[in-house]
């Protein structure tokens, strides 16, 4: 069976490492990008679109919200599941991200278990993958 692919987009290498460890454990193949612009460039070059993107909000060049809007405007990328992973925890920001097309929202700091639960809710990993 072909493993699913996840794109981890964060300007912090440390945060990318943490997210990559989690998705790799869940049998995803992980690709990293340091900001929204780099992620768009990678997606343009890819023949197969990743099933999942974990997206930070505050990044240089292209922020997470702009990336979500870019993805939603591109029919080729419509199947991607988009999860914001960010410190932006105000209700109004969450609403903005979901309205722009993000499917889920994870607030930093998060535990590995909390992230896996969110991915299970989205049907990307089996329920109970955390146990």
């Amino acid at each position: 069976m072909t493993p699913m692919r996840a794109m981890v987009i964060d300007d912090s290498r440390a945060m990318r490492m943490i997210l990559k460890r989690i998705v790799t454990k869940l049998n995803f193949e992980a690709v990293e990008a340091g900001d929204g612009k780099e992620a768009v460039d990678l997606l343009t070059a890819m023949t197969e679109v990743p099933e999942l993107a974990l997206i930070d909000w505050n990044m240089p060049n292209m922020n997470g919200l702009e990336f979500v809007m870019h993805v939603r405007a591109d029919p080729r990328l419509r199947e991607m599941t988009l999860v914001m992973v960010t410190t932006e925890s105000e209700q109004s920001q969450i609403v903005r991200a979901l309205a722009a097309g993000a499917h889920e929202y994870v607030i930093k700091p998060f535990t590995e278990g909390a992230m896996i639960e969110k991915l299970a809710l989205l049907g990307l990993v089996p329920t109970g993958a955390n146990s």
């Binding site: 300007d11 912090s12 290498r13 440390a14 945060m15 490492m17 943490i18 460890r21 505050n58 240089p60 960010t86 410190t87 932006e88 925890s89 105000e90 109004s92 930093k108 700091p109 998060f110 535990t111 590995e112």
Partner: protein
């Protein structure tokens, strides 16, 4: 009309606890032990600036050893394998996470900057027009770590109410 801002030391301590539980000490064996010593030394620090409905800084400061250990915990490496770049990256992310959660407690209309990292001690010279209003000070495996909140004196948009006395001019 001024807006009263309430972010007290208990709020900061709760955020810090979540950071430790999530990234720095997921096993729960090495918490930050409070010292309540706002003058404890630091060798490196990172900060984010908040502007808008409240103006000030959130600062994470520690010894170099504690910063290396934090980077090691994030990156799943031994502290002595951690590069200066790794340390800067993790210090920046820690300031970003704590600053973002502080921002969420402020009145709507606050904006968070990207983090700044300085591999030098935290000094008041870096925030010449701000006063420390709250903080969590402790030892992590016997190394100093502090998280503090600084209010810019020129900010007339809000007043700040904390459980700590204002430390203006005390640094």
């Amino acid at each position: 009309m001024s807006v009263e801002v309430e972010v007290n030391e208990n709020d900061l301590a709760e955020m810090v606890e979540q950071v430790w539980e999530s990234y720095l000490d997921p096993e729960g064996v090495s918490p930050l032990i409070p010292t309540y010593d706002e003058n404890q030394p630091s060798e490196v620090h990172s900060s984010v600036c908040i502007t808008g409905s409240w103006t000030g800084h959130v600062v994470y400061a520690s010894s170099t050893r504690a910063a290396r250990r934090a980077a090691g915990a994030f990156l799943a490496m031994e502290p002595d394998e951690v590069s200066e770049e790794d340390m800067s990256d993790v210090l920046g992310e820690l300031a970003n996470i704590i600053g973002g959660n502080v921002k969420a407690m402020l009145p709507p209309g606050a904006f968070l900057s990207l983090p700044q990292v300085v591999l030098a001690p935290e000094t008041t010279a870096r925030y010449p027009s701000a006063s420390r209003i709250s903080g969590v000070y402790g030892l992590w495996d016997e190394e100093p770590v502090s998280i503090s909140m600084w209010h810019s004196r020129g900010d007339t948009s809000s007043t700040t109410n904390t459980t700590n006395n204002n430390k203006e001019g005390a640094e």
